[in-house]
Subunit: 207 residues, 2 copies
């Protein structure tokens, strides 16, 4: 007897390093579940904090005014291209999303993770609302039928807080300088613009 | 009697703002002639100097070491993807290409312009050679059957020198902060990564 069902543990993996404050991460979060199915790959959720990494370079996103203006017209076009809700420029940018990143770290292998991340991203980039308070995140968890209070308590425990700091150090050690960043093995792909190339590269890998 | 031949003056236009020192401009230069044919659009060559614009922002390309390292692996992959010669990291980066940019400004509407730009880019990014001396540029013009000495003399005349400075000011006024940048009317597309979107946008424009 042979097992013809290929379990997800057998699919090529793409690490998805992202952060909820990042607008180009938003685009990828909204796309990857469907892309994973189409390309027969699986994504591994790797939340990290981009702020400390950029600060260590002395860089700041969109410090340069003209680039910042361009990014908003680029986002408007890309939202149309991907069939997302019309682009809303967040009134706070970049928004801190430490709390939901801790939830992702705590439960990165859970089947509800893609849906959770999409809803957090929509809170920031469609509804222009705070994403860093238990009062913002609990309704999302409840809507997904999850024990919100338990999850938020665990997400704010010391080991998870330390874990996110460690994962941010790992991101820096891997050479990450922006979000989203994809890894297929040691091959790094920076930006939503390279998601298609990362998918192609992953699906060509021998298992 | 009707004229069924659509002249190039009737095709939708894409302004192509570029500079010979820019590696992502290299990719676009190598692609655009074929893309223009495929999409039935025409490119308008817009040479400018990126250096003064970046300096006015206090920015420098690849100042950030990890991003610089990534860009080279990205270029290697993209050269493979577009079927170009294997990527060679230039020993001088970014190379000054003021002289050939002046040639482009002088003769931007000439039919040999696409071939000239490809050869200058290959000198920089395939053969890793200086592109800013008459001794580098004359052989390219001669190979194209052109009066090299005349062209180089004109390119180094005061009006053309001033013209390139003026065009660089225009680039800054248009909100350009990197190269390549494409314009379809007022719609700006930054980077070789947006060439496909610019082509699509241009070919959807009513003439």
């Amino acid at each position: 007897m042979s097992d013809l069902v290929v379990g997800p543990e057998c699919l090529p993996e793409i690490e998805f390093w992202f952060e909820f404050g990042s607008n180009y991460s938003y685009l990828s979060v909204m796309r990857i579940e469907e892309e994973a199915r189409k390309h027969n790959v699986q994504f591994v959720w790797k939340p990290f904090l981009l702020g400390p990494i950029l600060q260590s370079f002395g860089a700041h996103p969109f410090k340069q005014e003209q680039k910042g203006a361009y990014v908003h017209s680029d986002m408007a076009r890309l939202c149309r291209k991907y069939g997302l809700s019309p682009w809303v420029k967040p009134s706070v940018f970049p928004r801190l999303g430490v709390l939901p990143l801790r939830v992702v770290l705590l439960a990165s292998d859970q089947p509800w993770m893609a849906a959770f991340c999409r809803k957090v991203m929509e809170l920031n980039f469609v509804h222009d609302q705070d994403i860093n308070q238990p009062g913002s995140i609990a309704p999302i968890l409840i809507e997904l039928g999850l024990p919100a209070e338990d999850i938020l308590n665990q997400a704010q425990s010391e080991p998870v807080k330390a874990g996110l700091r460690t994962q941010t150090e790992m991101a820096r050690d891997k050479g990450i300088f922006g979000a989203p960043t994809f890894f297929v093995g040691n091959e790094m792909f920076w930006g939503n613009d390279r998601l298609d190339d990362a998918l192609l590269f992953a699906s060509e890998q021998k298992m």
